[in-house]
């Protein structure tokens, strides 16, 4: 048994997982249109390589990655590109961003050029990483960081952690993935481990998912029997169910006892952490030759008739998904992600993107009166980052932002634990989000002000220099023109009367 540590704080939450994990993953009819944003990842927007009117097949490249931290976009169904333009993307503001829109032909046939990586057994890490990059794979746990970039850390890695924790209530997409495709997940782990040359590989699941764990064990046995080298080296670890155990920093603490330094990244501890969904996508990309064009999405909540998990082509509008699952309550609000850290969707027009793990449809919580902080410290006990939310709240409330920086607001992961345990019902996380934005804004303005000050100084200097130079030039010219007169003036200074003046001044000075 692996020794486990615990992370500070955290809370136990009702899971509501049974709502959506009792049935197998369902398919979805091919949507009429798919809207594929050029940025479904952290980093630079992808650049379109297709034109409006072009026919595309499923899996065909639509837009290419433009920098190291970027990811390409592929067609999630076959059809015709009918538009490249701004459409509403999943964001609480309802903002529109650049998308490629495909009118589906309903055939849903794969692109003929797609093929598994040739000679996989002898492929180098660089080749494997390139295949992952070309498949458009990003972190499917929600952070959507391009995986190929994460797989090229600046130092050697000894521990690869595959995250199947899924600690948010309601969400079961990783649970169902592990139950239905345990072998793909494990094969993905083996490939990732090969790329990183990691000494150990830990696949970690919260102990509220015994079926998933069971399937993983079976699949590992099958791989071992099949002589798959390294399969026995994948450690399957169950950890206690405490929110937010699935947070990267918390998970690394639980498994290694070490803390990712503030502002740092896991690789500094020799650790890389990837989601089980990402591992499965790596399997699909390298062993099946299929780029990331669909994902499992949990559709659940008390406003849904048939909660469950759906295999959804990327770019499918949320309303198509809601139609399939049945919406019982139009009053209920749409949340993308979990109830603790998800985002409210202002419209069901927004599409499923690579980072969409869950569509939660719940009646809004009744508004409760906010009471003054009684400094009970429940929030500090619940904070997994060991912050003092009661102090942060005090200073966010008073807008004393310098104090917030000293109390290290930037370490807040906005997990929502403090919010939930607050007896005064203070929306702490809202305050912190607001303060973070303000601090960033002020820093930006300070920087702008500094830049403009420098600019103005340089300009002032330049103007003065020009003035001085002009004056000097004029003086020289003048001097050159009036050379004969100069002797006169010299004579004048030789005048005894003129010599008296400085002398008298010296006396008065003395």
């Amino acid at each position: 048994m692996r020794r486990l540590w615990s992370f500070p704080g955290g809370i136990r939450l009702p899971g509501f997982k049974q709502m959506s994990n009792s049935e197998t993953i369902r398919g979805l009819p091919v949507p009429e249109r798919v809207y594929l944003p050029l940025r479904q990842h952290i980093g630079a927007e992808a650049r379109p390589v297709v034109a409006v009117g072009e026919r595309v097949d499923k899996g065909q490249l639509l837009a290419e990655a433009t920098s190291f931290v970027s990811a390409p976009v592929h067609a999630s169904t076959s059809g015709v590109v009918i538009d490249i333009g701004k459409h509403t993307v999943p964001h609480p503001s309802g903002i529109a961003e650049e998308c490629i829109v495909i009118e589906a032909d309903g055939e849903d046939h794969w692109h003929s050029a797609l093929a598994p990586l040739a000679d996989i057994d002898n492929a180098t890490p660089t080749q494997l990483r390139a295949a992952i990059r070309e498949a458009g794979i990003v972190g499917l746990g929600g952070a959507v960081f391009p995986s190929a970039a994460k797989l090229k850390p600046p130092r050697s890695i000894d521990t690869l952690i595959i995250n199947g924790v899924e600690c948010e209530p309601y969400i079961t997409c990783d649970d169902l993935l592990m139950r239905s495709s345990a072998e793909a997940v494990l094969r993905g782990c083996l490939l990732l481990r090969r790329i990183l040359c990691a000494g150990q590989c830990i696949l970690v699941v919260e102990d509220n998912k015994p079926e998933a764990m069971q399937q993983l064990r079976l699949a590992r046995d099958i791989l071992i029997d099949a002589g798959e080298s390294g399969a026995e080296g994948i450690e399957l670890v169950g950890i206690p169910t405490v929110f937010p155990a699935g947070g990267e920093k918390q998970l690394i603490k639980v498994l290694t006892g070490r803390e990712v330094p503030t502002g740092g990244l896991p690789y500094e501890l020799g650790v890389v952490c990837l989601n089980v969904g990402t591992a499965a996508a790596v399997h699909d990309a390298i062993l099946l030759g299929r780029p990331l064009v669909s994902r499992i999405v949990t559709v659940t909540g008390n406003g849904i008739k048939r909660p469950g998990n759906y295999l959804v082509p990327l770019g499918t509008p949320t309303h198509a998904l809601l139609d399939a699952a049945g919406r019982t309550d139009d009053e209920a609000e749409l949340i993308m992600g979990g109830p603790m850290m998800g985002q409210r969707l202002p419209t069901s027009q927004a599409m499923v993107v690579k980072g969409t793990n869950c569509i939660l449809v719940n009646k809004p919580e009744p508004q409760t009166a906010q009471m003054p902080c009684i400094r009970c410290g429940s929030c500090a006990n619940a904070c997994p980052m060991k912050l003092l939310p009661q102090q942060l709240y005090w200073h966010a409330h008073g807008k004393t932002f310098d104090k917030l920086e000293r109390y290290q607001l930037d370490s807040c992961i906005e997990c929502g634990c403090c919010n939930l345990v607050c007896p005064s019902h203070i929306p702490l996380v809202s305050y912190f989000r607001y303060a973070k934005t303000e601090i960033a804004d002020q820093a930006y303005k300070r920087q702008r002000a500094e830049e403009s000050r420098l600019r103005s100084e340089v300009r002032q200097e330049r103007l003065e220099r020009m003035k001085r130079e002009t004056a000097e030039r004029n003086a020289r010219r003048k001097a050159a023109r009036s050379k004969p007169k100069k002797s006169v003036s010299v004579k004048a200074t030789a005048d005894p009367a003129a010599e008296d003046a400085p002398q008298s001044q010296q006396v008065s000075n003395g």
Binding site: E259, I335, N362, S411, Y434
Partner: protein, 354 residues
């Protein structure tokens, strides 16, 4: 509420799960946790504590409503949050039982009006309202504040509840009964006076007001508060830091005195179960608004109270010192919080940055 600035839209953003506790629930649980101690108090001392409770709670609610009205705050959320009731209960249980009606009423007035509402109400008071009121009363009315009842088994005649209320309202006892027959100095008071007179502790403890480990009856009340306090710990309404550090510090100080000269200093058990030690440790010092909030801060805060309680009892002008100790340490709480900031997860060094 008036405290929420307009810039924050509460409906904006996660989490989308509502909170599971509220202030009222916390306060009510603390009030219920007082029950074991209160029942022991009633059992050993008769109806006296109850008259205090009735006057204090009723007047506290009245003053709270009045001040909320003057300050133009919404009445219901704050009247129903239980904080005024809890303050009144703590005050009532600290006063001599069966005190004249105006004593608890005046106490509630000081606690609610001066110590709480004038500072901004719930959450904004720098000092523990019940203890601030207690201190003011103790200094202003030393005589009334030292008229404690004898345990029932030492009283000649047991008063009924009606007699108790009548006495608190007009000072009339049933015919043939003098107040001296039912009142006495507290064990701590007696200990203080008699050691001052040069008596040995072992002799003093033979006096009838003393029981097995501390005062006759009061030791059971102390045990009742201890029980209630353990329930609060179990419910995680309070953390262990303050009560444990306070009681350990008090016991350590008492232990040192006892080791130096057991005839001059009472043993630690008497200090722990005498006076307001248990009530103070679990119910008063743990008042979140006025205590330190960081783990290390709480330990220093609690230990400071324990040391001060012993110092006031041993060398001060009053037989008990919980109220003054809590008020004094309350002054240090903001400073303690500032200098005991825990190391943030992943931070390279402790405390404040920069």
């Amino acid at each position: 509420m008036a405290e929420a600035p307009t810039v924050i839209n509460v409906t904006e953003g996660a989490p989308f799960i509502g909170p599971t506790v509220d202030v009222g629930l916390v306060m009510r649980r603390v009030i219920y946790a007082l029950l074991p101690g209160l029942l022991a108090y009633l059992w050993f001392f008769g109806w006296g504590p109850l008259t205090n409770l009735v006057y204090a709670v009723a007047s506290a609610l009245l003053f709270e409503a009045l001040l909320l009205g003057i300050r133009q705050r919404s009445l219901w959320p704050f009247l129903s949050d239980g904080s005024a009731v809890l303050t009144a209960c703590l005050l009532a249980l600290s006063l001599p039982p069966m005190a004249a009606w105006w004593l608890p009423v005046l106490g509630s007035f000081i606690a609610i009006v001066f110590a709480k509402q004038l500072y901004g109400g719930l959450g904004y008071n720098p000092f523990n309202p019940a203890m601030a009121a207690y201190a003011v009363l103790l200094i202003s009315f030393p005589l009334e504040m030292s008229q404690w009842l004898l345990p029932l088994e030492l009283q000649d005649q047991i008063l009924s509840l009606v007699d108790g209320f009548r006495y608190t309202l007009n000072g009339q006892l049933p015919t043939g009964l003098s107040f001296d027959a039912i009142s006495s100095a507290t064990p701590l008071d007696k200990l203080r006076t008699d050691t001052g007179l040069g008596h040995a502790v072992s002799d003093i403890r033979n006096a009838p007001v003393f029981g097995l480990i501390a005062g006759q009856g009061t030791e059971w009340v102390g045990l009742g508060y201890l029980l209630g306090g353990l329930v609060l710990l179990w419910l995680r309404i309070i953390s262990w830091h303050i009560p444990v550090s306070m009681l350990v510090a008090l016991a350590a100080m008492a232990g040192m005195g006892f080791l130096i000269d057991p005839q001059q200093h009472a043993d630690p058990l008497l200090q722990l179960f005498g006076g307001a030690s248990m009530l103070g440790a679990f119910f008063i010092a743990t008042d979140p608004v006025t205590a330190a909030t960081t783990a290390r801060g709480k330990i220093i805060y609690g230990a400071g109270i324990g040391v001060l309680v012993y110092a006031i009892r041993s060398w001060g002008a009053y037989p008990d010192g919980v109220a003054f100790a809590v008020l004094l340490m309350g002054m240090t709480a903001p400073l303690l919080d500032q200098y005991t900031v825990p190391k943030v997860f992943g931070a390279r060094r402790k405390g404040w940055r920069g």
